[in-house]
């Protein structure tokens, strides 16, 4: 398997290339890393979406999309994500590799150039009529926030984390708030863009069959025109233990109750102990053979889903389930019983072996999905040590039962959140 090749475009701008002759798609992604802060989350978040909808060369939405369609439906997407207390703005281009075109066109050169137009010559630098575009994207992002409320599973999990981390930057939504989105001015967008290109850590990823030389030279040329400052420091606060236990119940017109438990684990990236917490969380509730699945669902028939997930960038575990309102107490007791078993070392050798195999398979299969592979490396690029999937598998393989039990004993319950039907 070809390995990822890293190089530098300029101060604070890295370039990663992975040659993949087996793929029919090529992908170039730009990730901009910024500290997640309440005061500028919204005005940063809107940036990638504005960039991906037009550029000075193709200022009109329809003609811009026709250009993308001419390039065999090249996908150009803005995105924003939250990793720990870091906000990542990304612009991603995906296009068909040239070996598969119908008429011998050279897509990758044009796609790269278009991506540069979008990034470095956005429409908002010169257009006076940019207000309409800004309104459109504000509207889109506000509706995105509202649609999260529509999804009760996601909403209840977000609420729990928000209550749990109320006084930490982690509680800031990756898109900020509706009010902050509404107040964004064209000048805010320009400032956010200038700051992103000059002072943020940037990672550019390229996965595909073509050689990267052209992409690298074009990017070097573009960045040479920008005065780069030392990139802004990035960090995430890790609260090691829950000091006060919070309990919040909310009501909605729904049919099924949601129970979400938030725990502090003490460990987070880049510390290596976080892999123990990861494996512990998988044994507890990460698979169809986990303790929570086998007991809460299969043995007691209380739910359709009951699972745990570990955010290793923030060091928290979230356990969630959808149940009948009258079964909240029983479900909660059973979840705690399973956690107690983990803490007291009631973990069969097989459970550990199975969980290790399951994580190993999940990490190795990252290679087979271009977007997961790209994100896997992009996410890690804010840390000094970057692991390959193979290295993570071997880390997980080496974990002992004692380390799992210690990780279980380090968790403390911070927040219990329930969303219950009105009636």
């Amino acid at each position: 398997m070809a390995h990822i090749i890293n190089s530098s475009i300029c101060e604070g701008v890295s370039f990663s290339y992975l040659k993949r002759p087996d793929l029919k798609v090529a992908r170039i992604s730009i990730s901009i890393f910024l500290p997640l802060k309440k005061e500028n989350a919204s005005r940063n978040a809107i940036l990638p979406f504005l960039l991906a909808r037009s550029c000075s060369k193709y200022p009109d939405f329809t003609s811009f999309n026709k250009k993308l369609y001419d390039l065999y439906g090249m996908a150009l997407q803005g995105n924003v994500s939250k990793i720990g207390e870091i906000q990542i703005l990304s612009v991603i281009a995906e296009f068909l590799d040239e070996r598969y075109v119908l008429g011998g066109e050279s897509i990758s050169k044009e796609a790269t150039e278009l991506l540069c137009e979008v990034l470095f010559r956005p429409k908002f630098l010169q257009e006076d009529s940019f207000g309409e575009d800004l309104d459109q994207e504000k509207n889109q992002l506000i509706q995105y926030l509202e649609s999260e409320y529509n999804d009760k599973k996601l909403y209840s999990e977000r609420r729990c984390q928000q209550i749990m981390c109320k006084n930490e930057r982690y509680s800031v939504h990756k898109m900020g708030t509706k009010e902050d989105l509404l107040s964004i001015t064209p000048r805010d967008v320009q400032k956010s863009w200038e700051n992103s290109l000059s002072a943020a850590k940037i990672r550019i990823g390229f996965i595909g069959n073509s050689e990267p030389d052209f992409v690298i030279s074009v990017l070097k040329e573009e960045f040479s025109k920008i005065k780069r400052n030392k990139p802004t420091e990035l960090s995430t606060q890790v609260v090691k233990r829950a000091l006060v236990q919070k309990e919040v119940e909310e009501k909605q017109e729904i049919k099924q109750a949601k129970l979400v438990l938030g725990f502090r684990t003490r460990f987070a990236m880049p510390g290596e102990d976080c892999f123990n917490s990861l494996l512990m969380s998988i044994i507890l509730g990460g698979t169809f053979h986990s303790k929570l699945f086998l007991n809460v669902r299969e043995k007691l028939s209380l739910c359709y889903y009951c699972s745990s997930s570990y955010d290793r960038n923030k060091g928290i575990i979230t356990i969630k389930s959808g149940i009948k309102k009258e079964n909240i107490g029983e479900t909660r007791s059973e979840i705690f019983k399973q956690i107690e078993d983990m803490k007291s070392g009631k973990i069969a050798r097989e459970e550990i072996v199975f969980a290790k195999k399951s994580v190993g398979s999940a990490f190795m299969s990252i290679y087979d999905s271009v977007d997961r592979l790209d994100f896997f490396y992009a996410e890690q690029s804010m840390y000094e040590k970057i692991y390959s999937p193979e290295e993570l598998v071997s880390k997980i393989e080496g974990i002992s039962k004692d380390e799992i039990v210690n990780a279980a004993n380090a968790i403390t319950l911070d927040t219990v959140y329930t969303l219950v039907p009105n009636a």
Binding site: Y69, Y72, L102, E146, N150, Q252, Q256, S301, S358, D368
Partner: protein, 427 residues
């Protein structure tokens, strides 16, 4: 059994397919550079197959709604073991799904492929339904149904189908409801199993790094021979018009979601692939981000990025759907319908648009071939319904503009149904 190679020169790929003497269809797509492999074993038995002729008694029987999905849940349990536990030993990630017209059992793995394939072939061929284990599942599935009841994106789709179709069972939720699943018994599960889990009615599709000859060896060893039968399902007569033009449900949500469906003319024959490809062309030209319709809806702030469209078809049903989030779904529907009338009137598909869309539709079909999961699942649905997996690629490359124009004329803008889920309080 012998495998024959099917090659596509545009995608520069091949796969191998053949039929085992039991009737089981086998498709293998070798992807030597892949880290993972994906296997799926499926049967042509979905939520719509609730009325059929029992091969044993020759009588026509009606089984409870949601039974295909219930059977899917229960098949993982064998007499002495749970199949998820078995997969745990190999490290594979296993799952299953039930759609309107098929049920599929699958796993993906990066190691121990043949051990996992052994488990898959074993458990799907070893039903074990008892009063006790069938009863135990009821609480789990009831919570699954409740979860979907609270999901507006799911409801908006099912409400549309229930409003669009008078009689066809596609109007019923795949999982059934709490009442219908209470009538499911071990006997009714066996009745379905014995009729539809016949190998003649099934396909095994594999994509990944494994060698085809090794796979064949295992299939030959593990497949139980049985006398092939062709299950006979019955579908009620379906009037051509929609049942209701509009349906709305209130939810505790902040933004409305809609599905606007156009019911298509239903024939008893299965659709050919060409019609599906042509529909993709029409929809892309009519409603993609390059269209004047999209521009109008966007400029009026009526839609957001969630806006999309697709063509849905299966045994005795077919419809086109537009959907997404909107603060005024009624106005969106009106604009789409008017635009469709105008679009048909001029039949204004230009050569430039056509050539552009051709590249896009073609690329979409080729790009599916990057991920083993997508390949195996698509091979399953095509092989079960006697379609050729690669055919859409060449059809897209060779489509004629006249055929797209003719396909457009078949769409009836008046035969539509709008389903809305909207916030409880008006904002």
């Amino acid at each position: 059994m012998e495998l024959k190679e099917v090659r596509n020169n545009r995608a520069k790929e091949s796969y191998f397919c053949g039929t085992h003497e039991s009737g089981l269809r086998v498709c293998i797509f070798e992807k030597k550079n892949s880290h993972s492999s994906f296997a799926v074993l499926g049967t042509k038995f979905g939520s719509i197959n609730t009325k059929f002729r029992d091969k044993k008694t020759a009588e026509i029987v009606r089984v409870p709604d949601g039974i295909a999905h219930y059977l899917e849940h229960k098949l993982f349990e064998n007499e002495d073991k749970d199949s998820f536990q078995e997969f745990a030993k190999t490290g594979a990630s296993a799952n299953a799904y039930t759609s309107f017209e098929l049920t599929a059992y699958l796993f993906s793995c990066t190691k121990n492929f043949f051990e996992s394939l052994d488990i898959l072939l074993n458990f799907v061929q070893s039903p074990y339904f008892t009063e006790e284990n069938v009863k135990k599942e009821r609480g789990i599935i009831a919570q699954e149904i409740r979860m979907y009841d609270d999901d507006p994106n799911w409801r908006v789709e099912n409400n549309m189908l229930a409003a669009m179709y008078h009689n066809h069972p596609v109007r019923v939720d795949i999982a059934g409801d709490v009442e219908s699943i209470s009538r499911i018994t071990p006997q009714s599960l066996f009745l379905c199993y014995n009729n539809f889990y016949n190998l003649k009615n099934m396909s095994l599709c594999i994509a990944g790094k494994e060698d085809k000859n090794e796979i064949l060896k295992m299939v030959n060893k593990k497949i139980k021979t049985s006398s092939p039968i062709n299950p006979e399902s019955f579908f009620p007569d379906e009037p051509p018009g929609v049942l209701n033009h509009r349906v709305e449900q209130k939810f505790d949500i902040k933004i409305s979601n809609f599905k606007l469906g156009f019911k298509e003319k239903i024939t008893n024959d299965e659709l050919d692939v060409e019609k599906i490809v042509l529909t993709d062309f029409v929809l892309e030209i009519f409603a993609s981000k390059t269209s004047s319709l999209y521009r109008e809806l966007m400029d009026k702030k009526l839609i957001n990025d969630s806006f999309g469209f697709n063509f849905v078809e299966g045994p005795h049903y077919a419809h086109i759907v537009f959907g997404g989030e909107s603060n005024d779904p009624d106005l969106v529907a009106q604009i789409i319908k008017n635009a469709m009338v105008e679009f048909k009137k001029d039949n204004s598909i230009g050569l430039g648009d056509f050539e552009r869309i051709k590249k896009v539709v073609y690329a979409q079909y080729v790009l599916v071939l990057d991920e083993v999961k997508d390949i195996a699942n698509l091979m399953l649905s095509t092989s079960l319904f006697d379609r050729e997996f690669f055919s859409c690629i060449d059809i897209a490359a060779n489509v004629k503009i006249e055929d797209v124009r003719n396909r457009l004329m078949e769409i009836d803008p008046d035969n539509s149904c709008l389903s809305i889920v909207s916030p409880l309080k008006s904002r």
